[in-house]
Amino acid sequence: MAFGAFANTGPDLSAAAPRRRSYIALILLLPGVLYLVATFVAPLVSLVLTSFKEPGGNFEVGEYVFAFRWENYTEALGRFGEIFLRTFGFSAIATVLALLISYPLAYFIGVTLRRYPLWQSLTLILVIAPFFISFLLRTLALKAIFADEGPVVTALQSVGILGPEDYLNGTAFTVILGLTYNYIPFMTLPIYASLERLDLRYVEAGGDLYAGPAQRFWRIILPLSLPGVVSGTLLTFIPASGDYVNASKDFLGSTSTTMAGNVINDMFFQSFYPVSAAVSILLMIAILIPVIAYVAKSGSEELL
């Protein structure tokens, strides 16, 4: 699947056919590239321009004119600073949880089940199964499972972990759990992809050199699967930090769990386009920093 985008699982391109210069390349590239310029680059530029706009002269709702209004940014940071922190906090915790769940799972499927191809593909299908059923309905199912009268709350109350008045829906707990659940496959698949190609002879060699199981893991297995871990982390963290379904009040959140995506959505639909754009740009910059660091490390040839 597309997770090769980060997992470096593609075949070695240096061995591909000799490259020729040709006008054919231009014909092949132009439609798609122009399309992306029109629908991706231009909207980003437009987003930057919008983020500096101020209300128009006749004060009609949704009417804005261009001005270098930096205040949109300082206001966004001032008003939503706490929400930004929460966004990255929630996404970071969800990413770590997804990693803790995914690594052993990916190891089991990619290494332990290597001798049983049928079981390997069966478990792999179970990992990608969530992709095939509506993300929104699955999140609503989680909401029902964590409902006040639902099985989890009732069970936790009966063993005394939750008090009789306590609840789970609308708290940071369910939002983080929802984010973790929804993005686990994005973490598992790239780690699986790199563990599946792990050459076990390296691990054997480590054993021959008297390395214990822990040493073999930290010094051989983990470093060799690191590209997958980095890819999975980005693929989980990026969508989680932009998600506004899990944290919205009709799903797993409440007004106290608002994330950056909710602000962008709410401001956009209340026609406060400059604020929405400023928050979008700030989110984009915050995401691009780790991505650029990753790209700088791995090189542009391995981007796709």
Binding site: A2, P11, A17, R20, R21, S22, A25, L28, L29, G32, V33, Y35, L36, T39, F40, P43, L44, S46, L47, P104, L105, Y107, F108, T112, P117, L126, I128, A129, P130, F131, F132, I133, S134, R138, L140, A141, A144, I145, I184, L200, V203, G206, G207, P213, I238, P239, G242, Y244, V245, A260, G261, N265, F268, Y273, S276, S280, M284, I287, V291, L304
Partner: protein, 290 residues
């Protein structure tokens, strides 16, 4: 688990103790714990899916939250709530249109990127990578405010425009791998047999790329069908299936929504299982003949 235990036994018997190989991935207590942990994790991940499917059989009408007994009615008249069906139809229209367009554009780019050198190659790579590294909410609000700025009326076709945009990169990634593993000797053989460049493309290159292109198309359709975050910003009054669910979430979702989601799920899983089985059958056949 018993076969694994037997494998471990066989191994300890046949290899002298001192030279015993590390048991990573070869059974043992560690593997047992790992297996139990993995099955538990997979089981927990399936709970919301099972819940969604089970509640498609709930005999509730508007608010499908409390279990009110088993019924097949929801499956028999899926279009009881006409809006569910209309939203589903819209999702199909969007998914098919976006998939066709994105697959064609993406495949062309994938061939160009693997086969040719050109200036600004790095720039094109970055341009293809960035949409995947940008949070969907930024893509959506950007395209949405672009439409607002230009006074474009939003509807189904703006949703299609947006879905083509985010699909292209995924198509390029998927097809590119296939292009890179293509043996150039096969095309050469075609040319040696006096095939024109067009003939080589349609009768050699394209059929060989087909599995990759089909995988890319399936991925694109799945992404499009389930997308809500971008769709919400660019859809105006048009309702796709995820948008219907989102809007209905506050006032109760009819069980027919669960029916549609479950049916799509079962169909998709069937396609994947059949694809897997036929791929492994083909591998076995190749192994036998080769």
């Amino acid at each position: 688990m018993t076969t694994q235990g037997a494998a471990v036994l066989a191994e300890t018997e046949s290899t002298p103790r001192r030279q015993r190989r590390p048991r990573n991935g070869r059974g043992g207590a560690g593997s047992l714990v790992l297996g139990v942990y993995s099955l538990l994790a997979l089981g927990l991940m399936l709970i919301p899916i099972v819940y969604t499917i089970v509640f498609s059989f709930n005999s509730a009408r508007r608010t499908n939250i409390v279990w009110r007994g088993f019924t097949f009615d929801n499956w028999l008249d899926i279009c009881d709530d006409a809006r569910v069906c209309e939203a589903f139809g819209n999702s199909i229209i969007v998914g098919v249109s976006a998939t066709v367009a994105a697959t064609i554009l993406g495949t062309m780019i994938a061939i160009a990127i693997v086969r040719y050198t050109f200036r600004l190659r790095t720039l094109v790579t970055v341009l293809l990578f960035l949409p995947m590294a940008t949070p969907e909410v930024v893509l959506g609000s950007g395209l949405g405010s672009q439409f607002v700025n230009f006074g474009v009326e939003r509807g189904l076709w703006t949703v299609i425009v947006a879905h083509i945009m985010f699909c292209i990169s995924f198509v390029v990634v998927t097809v590119r791998a296939r292009v890179a593993s293509l043996d150039p000797a096969l095309e050469e053989a075609g040319r040696d047999l006096y095939a024109s460049p067009a003939q080589v493309f349609w009768r050699v290159t394209l059929p060989l790329l087909m599995p990759g292109i089909l995988a890319a198309a399936l991925l694109c359709f799945a992404l499009s069908f389930d997308d809500f975050i971008i769709t919400n910003f660019v859809s105006g009054n048009a309702e796709t299936f995820p948008k219907f669910v989102y809007v209905a979430a506050s006032r109760g979702i009819p069980p027919q929504a669960n029916v549609i989601a479950s049916a799509v799920f079962v169909l998709a899983i069937l396609i994947v299982v059949i694809a897997q089985l036929s791929a492994s059958a083909r591998r076995r056949k190749l192994a036998k003949s080769g």
